[in-house]
Subunit: 102 residues, 2 copies
DNA sequence: ATATTATATCGAAATATTTTGATTTGAGGT
DNA sequence: ACCTCAAATCAAAATATTTCGATATAATAT
């Protein structure tokens, strides 16, 4: 249906789940591979993989392969994009106050 | 279970739904009452009320009554809080790179 | 007091997200 | 080639969110 806000939804979804926030906190101290992340989480392997996909889709995290391991880190660029989006969403622009109400 | 990230979830939920993003966009041009918001949305009255509750719970929007109307506007303070949270979440702090992996 | 209007709340249904366990894929190692 | 391991994917179940219609509440008007 309306798809105009889909990008923003995809980005902010990264921050709307406690497991993902915990993962992001772990990544703040530097890149980690999935197995390292898994150690500190109370979820199964496929569930972690699911959350990592959402985080990567948001652009806030990037992943790359090293042998059979997948490494993850926070993307500076992705975070900047999220901040810009939040700035844009929250900046008021009271040009047509007259159309307000009732 | 773990409740440590609940505050952040509550805040960012505001930005994770297309209807709510559309509502926020409408509020960017100034305060509005529910009936005005409703005009531009394709959802029922109780559904709008539900979304407004989520937005107010996040702190990003504030509401107040004027007679029988409820008015809503974007909260500068609430937005600042959201931005600070995002900053905190996304700031990397690579002090213990050694504990990273594998 | 009664009626009207705007919004909130409730319970149930519809829909979306998350978890789980099983399977698959793909990189190494033997 | 075969085995092992890390991670992704799949289908189904579990859970959470969103919507809808009905009702409740609270302010105002008659």
């Amino acid at each position: 249906m309306h798809t105009e806000y889909q990008d923003q939804v995809t980005v902010f979804k990264a921050f709307c789940d406690e497991n993902r926030l915990q993962i992001l906190e772990m990544l703040r101290s530097g890149e980690k591979c999935a197995c390292k992340l898994q150690e500190n989480l109370d979820i199964g392997q496929s569930s972690l993989s699911y959350h990592m996909k959402i985080l990567c889709d948001s652009g806030v995290v990037v992943s790359w392969q090293v042998g059979k391991w997948t490494h993850y880190k926070i993307s500076e660029q992705g975070c900047e994009r999220a901040k810009e989006m939040l700035e844009a969403i929250s900046t008021t622009n009271p040009t047509d106050e007259d159309t307000n109400c009732c």
